[in-house]
Amino acid sequence: MMLIAGTVPIKDMPLTLDKVTSEGDYLVVGGRKIPCTQGTGAMVSAALATTSYLGLEAPQVLLVGDIGKGDGSRKLYQYLIDQVKELSPAVLALHYWLPDMAQTRQLCAAVETCARRPIMVADAASMYSAKAAGLAEKFDIFTPDATEIAFLADPEATHPAYINRHLFETDISRAPELAKAAYSNHGAARLLLVKGAVDYIIKEGEVLATITEPDVPALEPIGGTGDTITGLVSAFAFAGLELHEAAIIAARTNRMAGKYARVTPASKVREVVAQFPAVFKDYLCQWSNVCCTEGGKSDD
C-alpha cells in the first residue's frame, strides 16, 4: 500500500483514512470532494494519475483539514505514530503539515517498528520538520526546490524563512554544492530530487542525473507543480522502480506534461496533471522500459 499523509485547506474536514478516487477535476476522499490545487491535493492527484495508468492499487490517503493552526496536523501525525506499524505501507509519503519536531521524532521511531520499513518520502513542511529534528537521514527521498536545498544546507535553520543569506540562492546551479553541504550536515535524505530550471537527482552528494528538457519556465509560477513531482516519484517508487529512476522519470513527466498543456504562468496545476496519461502513453516505455497501456495492461 502507498500511504500519503497531509493537510488540506478545508476547515472542517476530520482526520480521514480512505482510498482516493477521482471525479472530474476533483479527488474524492471520505465522500468529500477535494480540489486538485496547490498542496497535498496536487500531490495526491499526480500519484493517483500514475497508479491508475499503471494499473496499481490507488493510494491510501490520510488527510485532515488544517488552515495553519496546526490542530489537524497534530491529529494526523499522532494517528500515524499510533498506527503506522499496523498500516505497514510500502511507501509512506508525507506532505503539508505544521512542522513539529517532537512528533516527527516519534513518527520516525514508530516507523522503525514496522515489520518492513516503508520507503519514506517527504516534501513541503514534512521535509522541514524532518531536517529540523535532525532526522533527514531516516528518509529515502526529499524533493526540495532551490530555496529548500539552501535550507537543508544550513545546519541552524529550522524553516526556509531563516536561511543564512550566503546560502540562499535562487539560482538552481548551486544545487550540487548546497546538496553536498546538506549531506555533510546530515540534513539530506538518501536521495534528493532538487526541482528547478534544472532538476538534479543527487544521491549521497553525487549528482546522478540532471534533467533540463523540455524547458518550460512557466511551470515555476504554477502553484502545485512541485507537489506533482513528489506525487509522481512516490507512485513510481511504489511501482517498484529504483528510487533514482523514479525521480528521473517524475521530473521528465512533469516537464513534458507542462509542454503538452502549453502552460503559461496563469495555468492551473490540474491542467498539468490532466496531461500525465498522454505523457505516459508516449514516453513511459522509452524512459523506463515499463511498457503498458493505460490501466496497466501489457503493451505486447
Binding site: D66, I67, G68, G70, K75, L98, M101, A102, Y162, P221
Partner: protein, 180 residues
C-alpha cells in the same frame, strides 16, 4: 473509509522564544497562547538571548506570525520573538522578480506570487510547505492585488510571512515602484 479521532499526546519541542520584559508578562503571555490552543511552555531563555526578564515562552517558531498577531490583539507587550538556536540567521528578506512578459513573478524567500501586469490579478501562488499556504492560495488567486486578503491577517506561519512580503513587493511593483 474511516473518520478517525485521536487525542493529541505529543511532547512539545519548539524552536522559538517569545521574550518579555517582566516575569508577570511572560506568565500572562503563556496563558493567552495556551488558551488559543498553541503548544507552548515557560522556559528560561539562554543568556545570549536575554533581553528582558529571566522567563520566556517557548513556541513553535513556525507559528511566529499567528502568535505575534494574537499577542497584539490581546494587547500583550513582549520584547521580541527569536529562534532558540543562537546561530540561526535573521529572517531572510531577499526578494527576486522574474518577468514573464504578460505576467510578473515575485519571490520572497520560499514563496512566490505571480500576477498579470495589466489587470493586477493574482494568477498563481506557489512555494512553501506549511498548511496555511494551500488555504492562502485559494484565498488570493483570481483576486486583484489591491483587493486580495493579506497573508499576515489570514496566515499563521513563516511561509505566510514570506507570502506577505511577496504581496507587498507585488503591490509596489504594480503601482510603479519597487521596495527592493
Amino acid at each position: 473509509m474511516a473518520i478517525l479521532r485521536r487525542n493529541q499526546k505529543a511532547k512539545f519541542e519548539g524552536g522559538g522564544l517569545v521574550l518579555f520584559q517582566e516575569v508577570s508578562q511572560a506568565i500572562a503571555g503563556e496563558k493567552i497562547l495556551k488558551a488559543a490552543g498553541y503548544l507552548v511552555r515557560l522556559v528560561a531563555p539562554p543568556p545570549e538571548l536575554r533581553k528582558g526578564c529571566d522567563l520566556a515562552v517557548e513556541i513553535n517558531l513556525i507559528e511566529q506570525p499567528g502568535i505575534e498577531r494574537l499577542l497584539k490583539e490581546k494587547d500583550m507587550a513582549y520584547v521580541s520573538i527569536e529562534p532558540i538556536r543562537v546561530k540561526t540567521a535573521p529572517l531572510l528578506e531577499v526578494v527576486k522578480v522574474t518577468d514573464f512578459g504578460r505576467w510578473v513573478m515575485v519571490k520572497a524567500g520560499n514563496m512566490k506570487i505571480t500576477y498579470e501586469k495589466d489587470s493586477g490579478v493574482i494568477v498563481n501562488v506557489s512555494g512553501g510547505g506549511c498548511p496555511d499556504i494551500p488555504y492562502l492560495h485559494a484565498e488570493l488567486v483570481d483576486k486583484r492585488l489591491d483587493q486580495a486578503p493579506r497573508p499576515k491577517d489570514l496566515g499563521f506561519t513563516l511561509c505566510a510571512l514570506n507570502l506577505e512580503r511577496a504581496l507587498d513587493e507585488c503591490l509596489a511593483l504594480h503601482s510603479g515602484g519597487s521596495k527592493t
